[in-house]
């Protein structure tokens, strides 16, 4: 993966394997984000309560959640459309935030599943840990997001 500043945006170069993994994650996420099972901690993290009180939270959720779900789907659909084009991915300035939000949603979902506690890039995980691939994926997504932010600032 390589991220660099371009005229009016950001260029992102991915290896074919990286592109395939990201495509698969995005597709999984778009299916997952339609889930309304709020007892799932990852769903609860993506759609948090806005108030401490249950009644106010439910009221807020009723009118904000469908739009929020649609927004998250739109961001990931946009990322998918970028990944479908071969070669260097050129992201316009105005669309960088869609990428940042979409990658962040993947990190929130994966990070909640892995119950990460603090190390931003996943920390050291033994190779024989059955989840070591997911940890390295989480770390890779953090690196991608961090690089997009770095060239943007």
């Amino acid at each position: 993966m390589k991220v660099s500043k371009s005229h009016g945006g950001v260029n992102l170069e991915l290896l074919e394997g990286e592109r395939d993994i990201l495509l698969q994650l995005i597709d999984d996420f778009r299916e997952f984000v339609m889930s309304e099972d709020i007892s799932d901690p990852a769903v609860a993290r993506l759609f948090p309560d806005a108030y401490e009180g249950n009644e106010e939270s439910a009221e807020f959720r009723k009118y904000s959640e469908p739009a929020l779900r649609e927004k998250k789907d739109r961001d990931s659909a946009y990322i998918r459309s970028c990944l479908e084009v071969s070669g260097v991915i050129s992201i316009k300035e105005i669309e960088v935030d869609s990428w940042l939000r979409g990658i962040n949603d993947l990190r929130l979902t994966l990070g909640t599943r892995l119950e990460v506690t603090g190390d931003e890039f996943g920390g050291e995980i033994p190779d024989d840990d059955p989840q070591s691939f997911l940890y390295s994926l989480y770390g890779w997504l953090g690196w991608l997001q961090g690089s997009l932010l770095e060239v943007e600032f």
Binding site: P48, Y51, F60, L100, L108, Q145, L149
Partner: protein
């Protein structure tokens, strides 16, 4: 000699809520969001400077939470929705 003062209504000011207690937006610390990302979100959602956004981000990081904005309920609810779009953990409470 007396003093005079005039006031002109400004259309963008919502007088209906002028005397109501404001609502505060609290952003809570979480172990996943990158610090540079949180800073960027404050700049994008509230139009804050990089310096102010970094200060608020550090407050979230060190104190576990930060009051990042305050105002009329409807405007604050819209901002919270935007923060949720970006994946920040944000809640609303009425100022005491």
């Amino acid at each position: 000699m007396g003093s005079t003062s005039t006031i002109v209504a400004e259309p963008e000011v919502d007088l209906q809520n002028a005397l109501a207690r404001p609502w505060n937006i609290i952003v809570w610390n979480d172990p996943i969001n990158l610090m540079t990302y949180v800073t960027r979100v404050f700049m994008m959602v509230f139009g804050y400077s990089k310096e102010k956004s970094e200060r608020l981000m550090m407050e979230v990081h060190h104190d576990g939470k930060s009051l990042v904005a305050s105002g009329a309920r409807e405007a604050m609810e819209q901002a919270v929705t935007q923060l949720h779009e970006y994946g920040l953990w944000a809640t609303l409470e009425q100022a005491s």
